[in-house]
């Protein structure tokens, strides 16, 4: 259980409250910058330098190195912002979601009512 789960008590859910937002501010600020093409290029050219520039903690950097979206969420990353990181790295919403559920993309899609509606 992470702190946000203790605060809210909804299993498998990380409510983005102010405490979590403050914890993940560096992640989200960095991800927000990736809305601009030149920043996406700079990130891809040197991820470590880019993360350093935004002051991410070692734990946060490691989650990004491992493309570990669940961990990134637990550390305060907000999906609406880290989708820009996903887009930079070639990870779409459903790929990210399947990984957070601990499933393959195919397994996740098989749980949907109309998997063609993507």
């Amino acid at each position: 259980m992470s702190d946000t789960q203790e605060r809210w008590g909804i299993p498998g859910t990380y409510v983005f409250d102010l405490a979590l937002s403050r914890q993940g501010y560096a992640i989200n600020k960095m991800c927000n910058s990736l809305k601009f093409d030149e920043n996406r290029e700079a990130f891809k050219a040197d991820e470590e330098a880019y993360m350093e520039r935004y002051g991410l903690s070692e734990e946060q950097k490691q989650a990004i190195r491992e493309r570990d979206w669940l961990r990134l969420t637990q550390l305060g990353g907000n999906l609406f912002f880290f989708l820009k990181l996903g887009a930079t790295l070639g990870y779409g919403l459903y790929t990210i979601g399947a990984q957070m559920r601990g499933e393959s993309y195919e397994q996740f899609m098989s749980t949907r009512n109309v998997p063609g509606a993507t």
């Binding site: 809210w8 008590g9 909804i10 299993p11 498998g12 859910t13 990380y14 409510v15 983005f16 409250d17 102010l18 937002s21 501010y25 989200n28 600020k29 991800c31 927000n32 990736l34 809305k35 669940l70 969420t73 907000n78 999906l79 609406f80 912002f81 989708l83 820009k84 887009a87 919403l93 459903y94 979601g97 399947a98 957070m100 559920r101 601990g102 996740f108 749980t111 949907r112 009512n113 109309v114 998997p115 063609g116 509606a117 993507t118």
Partner: protein, 281 residues
């Protein structure tokens, strides 16, 4: 004087925008959705004939960042740009505003104790864009209605309560009715229904809850608005908590409402709801 002539609740989902832009209206996975909106589009064009739409939405990390996040923000501009959400700008015309009407709303709502952030520039993302082309016919350059965007913070808790959103709707009704021009106003509340985009529970939807919502928001909106965020998110998913934006629409309508049309479809990760309401008092 101003008059509220329609209340609409509608989900906003980026994949709907992509399907629309890629002209998937007859794709078997998407046709039910586009067909589901068609009667409301016709009703709006042929009977409602609104001059301006107040559309209640949230931004998704497009225009507003967490450095300074408004709880409620009202557009007061002559026009609003279609935002680029990182995949290129959608091929939709920018939106005409109604700055005089927005200014009236701002003056009236702040005097009525709703202390809004006022925005003279506001690029609009899928929170705003999804419903518009499904509800109003447009060509390459123009929309048939003017718009007033009203943003609600549903991203970072503390969110406003459902009751606060309902009361904001009531205040909007008073403001509209105090507007001296003969202006027909539609109010659209967007978001929901059930969905969750974070954690191990990613992809959670609750079709039963959604279907009840579409009825209860008509019959007992105050009881619904009194639910806590935790109760709503437990049932409808963390991002499902954004349904509070429908209360702004519902609060702007009369006590009793008449259902014009209802549609529900849950193909992927969001329970997509559409509800069109008429005032009956």
């Amino acid at each position: 004087m101003g008059k509220i002539v329609a209340g609409i609740g509608s989900s906003h989902v980026p994949s709907i925008g992509r399907a629309y832009d890629q002209q998937k209206q007859t794709d078997p996975a998407w046709q039910p959705l586009f067909d589901g909106y068609e009667p409301v589009k016709r009703w709006l064009a042929e009977e409602v004939k609104a001059d301006v739409v107040i559309l209640v939405y949230n931004d998704h990390g497009t225009e507003f960042f967490l450095d300074c996040y408004p709880t409620f923000a009202l557009g007061v501009a002559d026009s609003y740009a279609v935002a680029d959400e990182g995949y290129g700008k959608r091929p939709l015309p920018d939106f005409p505003g109604d700055a005089a009407f927005s200014e009236h709303l701002a003056n009236h709502l702040v005097a009525d104790e709703f202390d809004l952030t006022l925005c003279q520039e506001m690029a609009l993302d899928h929170g705003f864009l999804t419903a518009m082309p499904l509800l109003w016919e447009h060509d390459d350059t123009a929309w048939p209605v003017k718009v007033v965007p009203l943003l609600v913070n549903v991203i970072q808790h503390p969110l406003p309560t459902g009751q606060r959103c309902y009361k904001l709707g009531e205040a909007i009704r008073r403001a509209v009715e105090a507007y001296p021009e003969d202006t027909r106003v539609a109010v659209v509340g967007t978001g929901g229904l059930s969905h969750q985009l974070n954690g191990e529970r990613f992809g959670h939807i609750n079709e039963e809850w959604d279907k009840q919502w579409l009825q209860r928001i008509q019959d007992e909106p105050r009881e619904l608005a009194a639910l806590s965020h935790k109760e709503v998110m437990t049932a409808a998913g963390a991002e499902g908590g954004e349904v509070i934006m429908w209360f702004v629409m519902r609060g702007a309508m009369t006590e009793r409402v008449e259902e014009v049309h209802r549609f529900y479809y849950a193909p992927m990760t969001t329970g997509i709801g559409l509800l069109a309401l008429n005032n009956s008092d």
